[in-house]
């Protein structure tokens, strides 16, 4: 895997903003003194007049974005997930979600792969918070190709969209030529019917690696990538539940309120007999350390997914 190209999806975010900015003059970008980290600095360099730094004031940033959207602009408000979804939650809820304004929230540094900065900056609650807002689309791309496609889809979607990007460089496994992205649709990356690994974000590359390892043990895992946390591709999830009977959900998020719970709800309400194991952050805070080490400590890697899958099959 060492020759696989790796790109952090926050870099994809910056690059996609520039592309969108070139195509559409109504794209504006807001940041809260984190342009170098969220990569909106790339957009700022190309379109300085359309980059609005709000200073360290995320609450005002989100609602100013709402105001900008009412003037026909398409704002991408950017910060770390912790501050965009966490600190400014009520602003997103009341001034973006409730009026259903055309605001895009580009949240970088999601999850514990933030690494060294530690728990204060490792947001594992954003899916839960954003999913709970009526009408909010929640996207978490798994690689550079999907991230840039998700940005285009977010721009074209009329209404609020929350996009979660990561700090850590991760493998690019999608083939851009043949890739098609649609909000609300997932994709089967690997066929199999012993167990379904349903994953999002950086966990999808780990799920693919886990499927390889499971195959060596004679276990054929289906790998499903769900960038669209909300709306959820229930059809794909229920098909997997019926055909595999065992699901492992994989997300760099708390097991509370994220993809795992969304999948559980879909399966339970459909009355499908299926066991589910959620791989995620188990109701605890993260901590400092190199991203890879922290991910491994929390079982958010191929080895952790293999353990979970085997526990369902054992």
């Amino acid at each position: 895997m060492s020759d696989v190209k790796k790109i952090a999806t926050r870099d994809s975010y910056g690059a996609a903003l520039v592309e969108l900015g070139k195509e559409h003059d109504n794209v504006v970008v807001l940041d809260a003194d984190l342009a170098a980290a969220t990569k909106t600095c790339v957009f700022k360099k190309t379109f300085p007049e359309r980059h609005i730094d709000c200073g360290i004031a995320e609450q005002n940033m989100i609602v100013a974005a709402a105001g900008l959207s009412t003037m026909g602009l398409v704002p991408f408000a950017s910060s770390f997930a912790m501050f965009a979804a966490g600190r400014a939650f009520e602003q997103v809820r009341n001034s973006v979600g409730y009026p259903h304004l055309n605001v895009k929230i580009g949240a970088t540094h999601g999850g514990i792969s933030v690494g060294e900065d530690g728990a204060s900056h490792q947001c594992c609650e954003d899916f839960a918070l954003m999913r709970s807002i009526p009408g909010m689309v929640v996207l978490c791309p798994a690689d550079d190709v999907e991230a840039r496609a998700a940005m285009k889809a977010a721009y074209e979607h009329e209404g609020p969209v929350y996009l979660r990007f990561g700090r850590l460089a991760i493998p690019v496994f999608h083939d851009e030529e043949n890739f098609h992205f649609e909000i609300g649709r997932g994709e089967v990356l690997r066929k199999g019917s012993d167990v379904a690994l349903i994953s999002t974000g950086l966990m999808t590359a780990e799920a693919l690696a886990a499927a390889d390892e499971l195959a060596q043990a004679g276990i054929h895992a289906r790998v499903i990538n769900l960038c669209s946390i909300k709306p959820l591709d229930e059809e794909l999830v229920l098909k997997a539940a019926r055909e595999c009977g065992r699901i492992v959900t994989c997300e760099e998020h708390s097991v509370i309120g994220g993809l795992g719970e969304a999948v559980c709800a879909a399966v339970a309400e459909a009355g499908v007999a299926c066991r589910v194991k959620r791989v995620g952050v188990n109701d605890e805070f993260g901590h400092s350390g190199p991203a890879k080490e922290v991910l491994a400590q929390f079982g958010l890697d191929a080895a952790g997914i293999v353990r979970a899958a085997k526990s369902l099959l054992g």
Binding site: V28, E49, R50, I52, C54, G55, A57, Q59, N60, I62, V63, A64, A65, A66, G67, L68, S69, T70, M71, G72, L73, P75, E90, Q91, N94, S95, Y98, P99, H100
Partner: protein, 285 residues
Amino acid sequence: MSMTGEEKKRLAAAACRVRMGVIESTHGAKSGHPGGSLSSAELFAYLYNKELRIDPENPKWDGRDRFVLSKGHTAPGLYAALANRGFFPVEDLPTLRHTDSYLQGHPNMNTVPGVDMSTGSLGQGVSAACGMAKGAKLTGRDEIRVYTLLGDGELAEGEVWEAFLFAAHYKLDNLCVIIDLNGLQIDGATKDVMNTAPVNDKMRAFGFEIAEIDGQDLDSMDVAFAAFHANRGSGKPFAILMTTVKGKGVSFMEHNVGWHGKAPNDEEYAVAMQELRAQLSELEG
């Protein structure tokens, strides 16, 4: 150019009609916030009958001036002004807060014609207004003016000061922030709950040009808005600090914090309407 006596009378009558709408709607709702709606009645009347470039026939007209009610709980005042200006029937006001009514308890831009931003959670409207003013400038429509009304209790919200920094930093001289200093909030006098005074020094320090007026005096309001217009091109945002009386216009509601968020009962409604009808007939002869 100052107002003619006739125009002043017309606006005073409009303010009185706003007050009647506030009483009608809160009585009909059996809840709501009359106190701060009444203190801002002259301001609502002035904005919707003289200041704002708007078209009731085309509420979403792209080139209109914007108004954001940051102190969203005073929706009864805003709704009364909009209804009297022809955005929707005055007869609908008593349906405020009813289950099937479009007149939500706090302003909803998607259900109420003429409402430019959904508000209600204090401190947020002013940020939206900043975004609108910045958006007007970014899209080359600098002639569009954006107004927002805050309460003095609302100033305790930290986001307000984030927004004020933003307004000055981005030189939003198309933004007019109006602050209703009625001195009372739910838990008591603002100076006792969380003192926000001196507001004038704070606004100057945050980079605003300011006008300080009696918010019940239409002449000084006229002068203040003229000063806002004169300030265009200065690169500084403008603030009108208006001292008012909470509950103004209804004798038993004036200066009484109990009327912040309480509706008049049938008896109180009758007395209030009698007083306001008398004021109106005096103005309209």
